[in-house]
């Protein structure tokens, strides 16, 4: 209990630090929104010309995007420090974390608050509204109930992947480019419905690097598209389970990393 209080204090401090420059904060949010607007704009140009992508209409694509925006928004909030984790190792800052009587993972996670989450939530909510409207989603009781569960599952998947790739730094020290590719570039895969890729890639994004569970599979359920995907319909409900598996595996690899860790001595 006592440690939870300390985590919350850490969290509050980092939040205060970020809010210190209010204009810069708002400007940053605006820049992120512009970035996504650009990405979205290109998608609209394509859909305007081609009407749909493999049977996914504009509304359905927007809904796909909203699930992704929510999942990555909350992932950024919680797991943001892991993006630059290798710097903590290289600078020797991680040594400080180890000597404190708190879980190293907890300290790392609560040491940074990422403002981009606000931007993601704006995008996610807007996309959810338009996606529901033009994707003709009938919001039944179960769908409303399941939505946060699916988003949580997505956060566990995306966060677990971040944790795992951050843990690589325990062995390799600097791993910035790997982190960039695995965390940011790979997101690009699920900007589009996963069934546009060849079977091998679909298999990869389902079973090996399971980001298809963040939006593609659960979207089938919300959009009542059951049976149109390549694989078994049961996968539509797989997100929470896959999330738990990914986060468990990643915590184990993190712990293995901490045990293996030898300070750089800097």
């Amino acid at each position: 209990m006592e440690s939870i209080k300390i985590y919350l204090t850490l969290f509050a401090i980092s939040m205060k630090a970020r809010m210190e420059y209010k204009t810069s904060f708002l400007f940053y949010i605006f820049a992120i929104l512009t970035f996504y607007a650009g990405q979205f704009g290109l998608l609209f140009i394509l859909l305007n010309r081609f009407h749909q992508i493999k049977g996914w209409s504009v509304g359905e694509m927007v809904f796909l995007y909203s699930l992704q925006a929510f999942a990555f928004g909350f992932t950024n909030l919680i797991f943001s420090q892991l993006v630059n984790f290798d710097k903590m190792i290289v600078d020797g800052e991680f040594d400080r974390v180890l000597v404190r009587p708190l879980s190293p993972l907890g300290q790392v996670i609560f040491s940074k608050f990422e403002v981009s989450t606000a931007a993601h939530l704006i995008i996610g909510s807007t996309a959810l509204y338009f996606g529901s409207r033009y994707g003709n989603i009938e919001w039944t009781f179960y769908k409303v109930l399941l939505f946060p569960v699916i988003v949580t599952g997505g956060v566990l998947i995306a966060g677990g992947i971040r944790l795992m790739v951050a843990a690589v730094a325990f062995w390799t020290l600097r791993n910035r480019s790997l982190v960039h590719t695995v965390i940011f570039s790979s997101k690009e895969f699920i900007n589009y419905p996963v069934d546009i890729y060849n079977v091998g890639m679909q298999f990869f994004l389902t079973f090996i690097f399971p980001i298809a569970f963040i939006n593609f599979y659960p979207a089938h359920y919300f959009l009542d598209r059951s049976g149109t995907g390549l694989l078994h319909p049961a996968l539509e409900m797989g997100t929470p389970i896959v999330g738990i598996i990914v986060i468990t595996v990643s915590i184990f690899s993190w712990k293995a990393g901490v045990n293996h860790y030898q300070s750089t001595g800097s």
């Binding site: 810069s24 650009g38 140009i45 010309r49 081609f50 009407h51 749909q52 546009i196 890729y197 060849n198």
Partner: protein, 266 residues
């Protein structure tokens, strides 16, 4: 700036890149990931229609465009936060007392960086793509020569864009949001993902007012044979006009920035 010194700076910057060999391998994977995503996307879009040509592009032509525009873009890789870091750590002061032009020194640093990425990433990605995808490049000596001129002009424009964005560090403490804006505009308006031919009519006047299409879109259309050699001439003239315009902006900003420069002690 004397050419010998320029080449010296280029080679130092090139060698700095060579030290990160693992990063380079990941960089190839990262570039190929984008090639894979966008070729899959175009194939999916085209497969929905019986017509084989859209906005003047056959499937082979659009796949070729997607691969080569990415190849050009990767060749243009440079570190856009060099100036920002120099302002932050105060080493910009050293640049001010040097007898060489800051712009050309910055250019040399970028060229070294980009040459490395061209050899270590662009070349392997293009070779792999030639084997994996159905692509068509017209091999005419004259065309290739004209392309190289247009490619270099595009490169200078990208350098100038980054220089302008970097100089903002003289006025603002935080420039990351500006870099994000720049990235968003560059990605959208340069044709780096969707060629300008697919843009709706109402966007074309805006595209034509901005320099971005001369960075990636036009050089690529020359390479893939979409622009005739006569058209290529007017493309290169337009590129030169933009180099002059942006050059004036660069030197005005540099002049004003030098006076404004505030260095945080440190």
């Amino acid at each position: 700036m004397n050419p010998k010194l320029f080449i010296k700076f280029v080679s130092v910057s090139f060698q700095k890149q060579v030290t990160y060999r693992f990063d380079c391998f990941v960089g190839i994977v990262n570039g190929f990931l984008y090639v894979f995503i966008f070729t899959s996307l175009w194939k999916a879009l085209y497969s929905q229609f019986d017509t084989t040509t859209h906005n003047g592009y056959t499937l082979t032509a659009i796949v070729t465009y997607a691969i080569l525009v990415m190849a050009v873009r990767i060749s243009f890789t440079m570190d856009d936060s060099i100036i920002y870091r120099k302002v932050m750590d105060g080493s910009i002061a050293m640049e001010l007392v040097r007898p060489t032009s800051f712009f050309f020194m910055n250019l040399a640093e970028n060229v070294g960086h980009s040459l490395f990425h061209m050899m270590a990433r662009t070349v392997p990605i293009v070779i792999i793509s030639v084997f994996l995808f159905d692509i068509y490049i017209p091999f005419e000596v004259q065309r290739l020569l004209v392309f190289i001129v247009s490619f270099i002009a595009g490169y200078i424009l990208v350098c100038m864009m980054n220089f302008i964005a970097g100089l903002l560090a003289f006025w603002f403490i935080e420039i990351f949001p500006f870099l994000l804006f720049k990235y968003a505009f560059y990605t959208f308006f340069s044709g780096g993902i969707v060629p300008i031919d697919f843009f709706p009519e109402f966007l074309k006047p805006i595209v034509n007012l901005l320099p971005f299409q001369y960075m990636l879109y036009y050089p690529t259309t020359i390479l893939i044979g979409r622009a005739s050699l006569v058209e290529a001439q007017s493309i290169i003239i337009a590129q030169l006009i933009w180099i002059v315009i942006m050059g004036v902006i660069c030197s005005l900003m540099w002049g004003a920035g030098k006076k404004k420069l505030i260095i945080q002690g440190g």
